[in-house]
Subunit: 475 residues, 2 copies
């Protein structure tokens, strides 16, 4: 092994091959669910160096775990516990290579932090619409590797939909340059989308050309009190009809989730929290290419129609940007409020939007029956059919013991319910090492067999993130 | 072989296995560029029957060529000349299985004609935005297999972007049901996008769940006279900025292309054709979620800005639907007018939008220098950077001889110019059998090697459309 380490040191410089000291930042996952041990943390500074590192590892038969901001929620970017895997950190590849305002594209290296990508677009007077909680730390490479979602998917799609092309280092250490920046190109298989969402198991994304959009002339935010999840779904349909592509955000938040924010962050002033008969809040965002006045007229006309239809019982429209931020802040702080309340079990499920009310009714009743006192923190991207249907330990009792004793059963109950409603056990977080058994259980056997064939074809040595998604079992 | 034919007859019924009589409709391609010979034309009536046909062929080692409406422009859906391939026609699988207005989706079998899919959406008060010249004959399965483009890509994307999931029969005759209809699902590799655009070389798409959109409240069409391609590109940027997602069509048409329409279809009344100093016309479509009055105000404000900026020298906005159809009709009839004028060489290229003016200037000069008297029929989807940069034989002289003697050289000149400008030799038509050598020449070797590995992994017998895209050479 010392030969490999020596080669890596020659390749990227000794300062960028870490084998000693505190490697927690690279070896522990974001949610502290797991801790691995790396043979070395290697930090190449260019695509060519990434390729050389991969070739050296391939020659040595050493596995590679690619890592961006290490903010993933499925334990997909840390090494396993064997101490035999190279942790390849992409954070030094962080250049914004080009912003092309005329082509409405931006070419960026994998290690660039999402917020920096957003800022680069904004500086050019344009919008890069990917937005999610970890945007100050996560990297665009990680967003691509996991096909990240976020809060604007209802209008702009997942990360996949924002990408025009990739640069990838293959498991053989070759560089595929797919950065033409074309909006149409039908010349062979769609390798781009195969790599997007492959979680580092097929190769290493080193750069990408992403779509940009014109900045809207105005964005407005509203908070609506809705009498049931069924009404929230009706409100969504109305919003699609009234706002068309102007609907850029649609988040639902259950009363208990909001009560945790009110309890742990009283300064945030959650709308309608004092009205005990409001089971759900909905956060809507309307982006307008015309003007704020026009946005306001359209938004108010939507809410009026929704009032008349009984979908909305009360609503506030933010008067200015500060108020809008305040409302979004409440939504964004639900996970933190949950953490303040104590340990909990997170899910990231999706179901067809019209089936969400029935799913929630069924799953709520099931869990409450099976696990008395359980508390359901239900919120998420209703506009995409994606709920973070989380489960908080009962108020009284030992949360640690609850997690230890009940997590597997809670997951089983939730995922079986999701499967029964034709949904997905992972809408946006991915599989990682955390949900390998769920993929095996809930993905179609025909699909799994094709996925394994593809993995074997592109990574015949089985060295790319081999313990994640589709684990490679050593012979 | 008679055993295979017998098995196929038992599987789908003798009436649906054609081996005699006039098989031109299945054996000749749309543009009459080539004629193949099928071992048999097999017309299964269900997904199960497709799977059984594939299993029978796999057992016999017989190749399969899937076919929808057979309207492709790259000779990708007819058998080769050997008489050894089964032509599998999907046209009997034409059910619209479900229209789910609440989920904004529609599930449809591969053989459904695109126009019928559009109509089913419209009947539910919704929009299926894929629209292209062959929509009365092409099938949604063919649209998916080739990732078809069309005239609304600038807003809604290619066929790929409209698809949420597929049902596929694998080369082993297994059925993959990927029709969950979810907007988010990150559970393994993106098989959906791998099959989309794979031109029948990895398996057979039998059904799909497609996205629907709210019908716009109003759509307006305008025809603008622009003084140069550079100005057309500037107009596009202004249109993006002013109309946002309201911009649903942006087509450019060169003066010579329009003059052919004026000459061969004088009843169509091409705007500004009498003004000799108008080199390009641009067709714009603005769809509005609010009202016709609002659409008109926005549209007029855009055109006013464009006049002031000098991008537009004259313009007409259609006063009603009939006028709008008339304007679109001119655009749609360019290919027919070209055919009336005589034989020609078609291209389907893309270049980054800002580089289009320089590309056109360069390629025009090159062709005119190399092939004196050549006439350039330049039109296409400028909003996507996709031009049908076609070449008409010189006015005087033998067009047949021109095609025979010059086609290879014209293609070479055009594709080399495209490559020089970082573009693609096939933006939307695909590779088929026609452009196999172009794929080999212009696609990156690293990408080709990954594509071949995937082909080998999913279709190890090499039986799926084996003479197309990535030809399988028999050992």
């Amino acid at each position: 092994m010392s030969t490999l380490i020596d080669t890596l040191r020659q390749t990227v410089g000794a300062a960028h091959v870490l084998t000693e000291g505190d490697l927690t930042a690279w070896e522990q996952d974001w949610r502290r669910r797991a801790r691995g041990k790396a043979l070395a943390v290697v930090r190449p500074g260019s695509t060519q160096e990434v390729a050389a590192v991969v070739r050296a590892c391939a020659a040595a038969g050493t596995a590679i775990v690619p890592q961006g901001g290490n903010t993933g929620l499925a334990v997909g970017s840390i090494p396993d516990e064997t101490g035999t895997q190279v942790l390849l950190s992409l954070t030094r590849l962080n250049a914004i290579r080009a912003v092309d305002a005329d082509n409405l594209t931006l070419t960026v290296e994998a290690g660039a932090i999402l917020q920096n990508v957003q800022d680069a677009a904004e500086k050019a007077g344009l919008l890069f619409p990917l937005s999610l909680a970890a945007e100050g730390s996560c990297t665009i490479g990680g967003n691509l590797a996991t096909n990240a979602g976020g809060t604007q998917v209802v209008r702009y799609g997942n990360t996949r939909d924002l990408c025009l092309g990739l640069e990838v280092v293959t498991p053989q250490g070759e560089i595929w340059d797919g950065l033409k920046g074309l909006r149409k190109d039908n010349t062979g298989y769609d390798l781009r989308d195969l790599f997007i969402g492959s979680e580092g198991t097929l190769g290493i994304i080193t750069a990408a050309t992403m779509k940009l959009y014109p900045q809207p002339a105005a964005s407005l935010t509203a908070w609506a009190a809705v009498p049931s999840m069924e009404h929230a779904v009706q409100l969504l349909a109305l919003a699609h009809k009234h706002l068309g592509a102007g609907l850029t955000g649609f988040e639902v938040m259950g009363r208990f989730a909001l009560s945790l924010v009110a309890k742990h962050m009283p300064q945030l002033r959650v709308p309608f929290i004092d009205q005990a008969d409001v089971p759900y809040g909905v956060l809507l965002e309307n982006s307008d290419s015309e003007s704020e006045a026009h946005a306001r007229t359209r938004f108010e006309s939507l809410l009026e129609t929704a009032f008349e239809a009984g979908c909305v019982t009360d609503a506030v429209v933010a008067e200015n940007l500060a108020q809008a931020h305040q409302l979004w802040h409440i939504r964004e702080n639900i996970p933190l409020a949950q953490a303040e309340e104590g340990l909990n079990i997170k899910h990231d499920i999706s179901v067809q939007i019209p089936r969400i009310p029935a799913f929630v009714e069924y799953a709520d009743a099931l869990l409450q029956r099976e696990i008395p006192g359980v508390r359901l923190v239900n919120f998420g991207h209703l506009g995409d059919g994606n709920l973070h249907y989380n489960v908080q330990a009962p108020a009284e009792g030992d949360a640690k013991a609850f997690l230890r004793d009940e997590e597997a059963r809670v997951n089983h109950l939730v995922y079986e319910a999701v499967a029964q409603f034709g949904g997905s056990f992972s809408a946006e977080h991915g599989v990682g090492a955390l949900k390998v058994d769920k993929l095996e259980k809930y993905q179609s056997p025909v699909a799994l067999s094709m996925m394994r064939a593809i993995k074997g074809a592109l990574d015949p040595q089985g060295l790319m993130n081999p313990h994640c998604m589709l684990p490679v079992h050593s012979a």
